[in-house]
């Protein structure tokens, strides 16, 4: 079987990203919470792989630890979206053209109607800025995304003959949703999941950028960007490296999700072969 190149690139990027983060749990080149003013604003060197920031902290170490924040926040937020969104979408599709369908989908619209950042600011204003509140804010916005994608895809499956034959075999809506609908839309949900995961990383970076995410001294990619802003003219590497890291992580996850869909679908396997 021939594996598409884009998938391989996605795998490598995502793998590097995850390995970097996991390694950071046990070992990092330099302590990230210790200030070392003498070593501040150093360019890339043997000692400081990607240079240091204005407090003399090693940028590479900060990126590694920042990955922890990104992964945790995005992963939990996507899981929240999936755990609530997919069953809601399946339920809406199974009870199409009934009050349940309307109820679920219109409440989705309600959430969609608020810009996510506004809700995030609201939550932070009430509960204070923290990683958990960032997760809640991003998670809430993942629910309607998954509900909508699930419902749309499920509706098209519900019209097929094999669903009718399952109903004739006496299977109820719940069983059909789990046995027949879910496996057939799984590939779509995986792709959506990987996209939402990368969007979650972006959202976390965005929230941290405006100071609503994790709080200092815990490093975060978004806040590294924000901090570097004022020094971009004389220390561009401070902004460049977190930016590139975010781009590569998001790109890698997207490619990974796309490739995973192709590999998971038995119908598409013939074409790849």
């Amino acid at each position: 079987m021939k594996i598409p190149l884009a998938f391989i690139i996605g795998c490598i990027l995502s793998f590097l990203f995850f390995v970097m983060t996991i390694v950071s749990l046990f070992w990092i080149p330099h302590e990230v919470e210790k200030l070392n003013i003498l070593e501040r604003l150093k360019g890339p060197s043997y000692q400081y792989f990607l240079g240091t920031d204005h407090f003399g902290r090693d940028i590479f170490s900060m990126l590694m630890v920042g990955g922890q924040t990104s992964i945790t926040v995005a992963l939990i937020a996507v899981s929240v979206g999936m755990i609530f969104g997919i069953p809601l979408g399946l339920l809406a599709a199974a009870s199409r053209q009934s009050i349940w369908d309307d109820l679920i989908m219109r409440s989705n619209d309600l959430i969609f109607a608020f810009p996510s950042l506004v809700i995030a600011i609201l939550i932070t204003a009430v509960f204070g800025p923290s990683a958990i509140n960032a997760i809640i804010a991003i998670g809430i916005f993942n629910v309607p995304v998954f509900a909508r994608v699930t419902r749309g895809a499920a509706l098209s499956i519900w019209t097929l003959d094999f669903i009718l034959s399952a109903r004739i075999a006496g299977k109820g809506s719940l069983r059909i949703s789990v046995e027949h609908i879910l496996p057939n839309i799984l590939s779509l949900l995986i792709v959506q999941g990987s996209i939402q995961f990368s969007l979650g990383i972006l959202a976390e970076a965005g929230l941290s950028y405006v100071g609503l995410g994790v709080q200092p001294p815990t490093p975060s990619w978004g806040r590294m960007l924000a901090d570097s802003q004022t020094m971009i003219s004389f220390a561009p590497n401070l902004a460049l490296f977190p930016g590139i890291t975010i781009i590569l992580a998001v790109l890698g996850l997207n490619l990974l999700g796309d490739g995973a869909r192709d590999l998971l679908d038995p119908r598409l396997q013939d074409k790849i072969r």
Partner: protein
Amino acid sequence: MNILSVSDFSLTFKNKNILKNVHLKVAPGQIVGLAGESGSGKSMTALSILNLLPSYSKKTGKIFFKDSCISDFSDKEMCRIRGDKISLIFQEPLTALNPLKTIQSQVAEPLLIHKNYTKREANQVAADTLHRVGLPKHLLHRDVYPHEISGGQQQRVLIAKGFVAKPNLIIADEPTTSLDVTTQAGILKLLEDLVKSEGVSLLLITHDLAVLSQCAHRVAIMKSGEIVEEGETEEVFRQRKSQYTRKLLDSVNYAPAKKSKASGKLLLSVDKISSSYGSSESLFASKQAKFKVLNNVTLKIFEREILGVVGESGSGKSTLVKTILGVHKYENGSIILNNKKIDAGKYIDSETRSLMQVVFQDPYGSFNPRHKIRRLVAEPFHLVKGVFTKKDINDRVDIALREVGLSPDDAKRYIHEFSGGQRQRIAIARALIIKPKLIILDEAVSALDVSIKAQILDLLAELAQRHALSYLFVSHDLSVVQNVSNRVIVMQKGTVVEEGTASEILSFPKADYTKKLVKAIPKIPVSWLSGG
């Protein structure tokens, strides 16, 4: 001189032979039929003529249009030929028309591109042509869109578009396949008239030999990219030089040898049911009147009987099937299966449900592509949960697969690995597995090629005998239904217009609609079939 001559034309896609040494000639004013089963290369021949092949194709041989060798033409040169000298009429009228443009502007398009007409002149000619192809007066004004007219009318618009620039050759690729028989008859008549009165040539591509026998001057029979026989229509039909032609013609009006005999015991009785669509419980649904699909339908099926249900699209056949299967609600009347009432929305005990099974039309949509054959075929066992052990179920799957002519090894494969005919066999295996008494065949053979259709009909007849099955055989095709059924009912607009034995209905139709239907079925002249 021939309008079109294809000589020794071969086509390969990535080292796969698509067409092999195709020879074809079309004389002026002639209708030439190109017949063959799906995948035989008919459509590829049409696309080759118009030079619309994918870029990775490799071709050898020559195609002449009059004197010019159009197979060597560049795309720019071909653009001057397409639509002007040679035009193409597609199978699916709905997708071949742009939904955002009026039918008149679509018909006028070839004139604007090829003939330097002004917009006003072009629209005038387009309106005249639309009138010529038999569109009623009220549809001739300027802002009629494709969705406002029926399928048959859409096909007429496509014909008008193909014909408006007065081409020398029209290629019609299955122009009537997606239409009802009564509509088909009108469209064929129109094509014939146009050929006669305007002297254009027509290359008619179809899988339906009966259609060709009625209108084509010459026919060519295609099989896996090769033309196996070519000649005058009557000669080809009478002489049947190639074995393949013989096989095709034998399967056209195929009737299974053994017909089971109905017993006196009533199995299913549908009494005066009515059913409608549009009853939505949604908060935002419009409170408009419901659309009635079934109106006082009554039918009875006895044990070991095959009841045919015939009707055109929109006659309510599929709704009838769903209602009987207990997945669609009905308003009044009753459906009684083996002394138990069936009503969607109310509990139907699994014993009653397991008495009937169904085989659908579309061999591609009938199976969950994620499951393996074993799980697919075993699905009806859900109805008799706990009765069988896993081994029993596996054994019965193996037996059922063998019964439909597949091997038990196939149980480990996925559905996409099978062809349309094989999938229909698997669907029958699934229907058989819990030994029902009634199998509903909802257009079960309509999507299949003629020779495969014959095999499936044979299989069904054999299984009916062996397992004492009753069939409700639903189809739009009266000729198939009359060959397999004991009794036939004819449906129109949700009502039963006629009921009787198959031969009665075909020979002495009483209702006007049935008469029209019987008359519209294209038939190969009997003497052609019998005379060797």
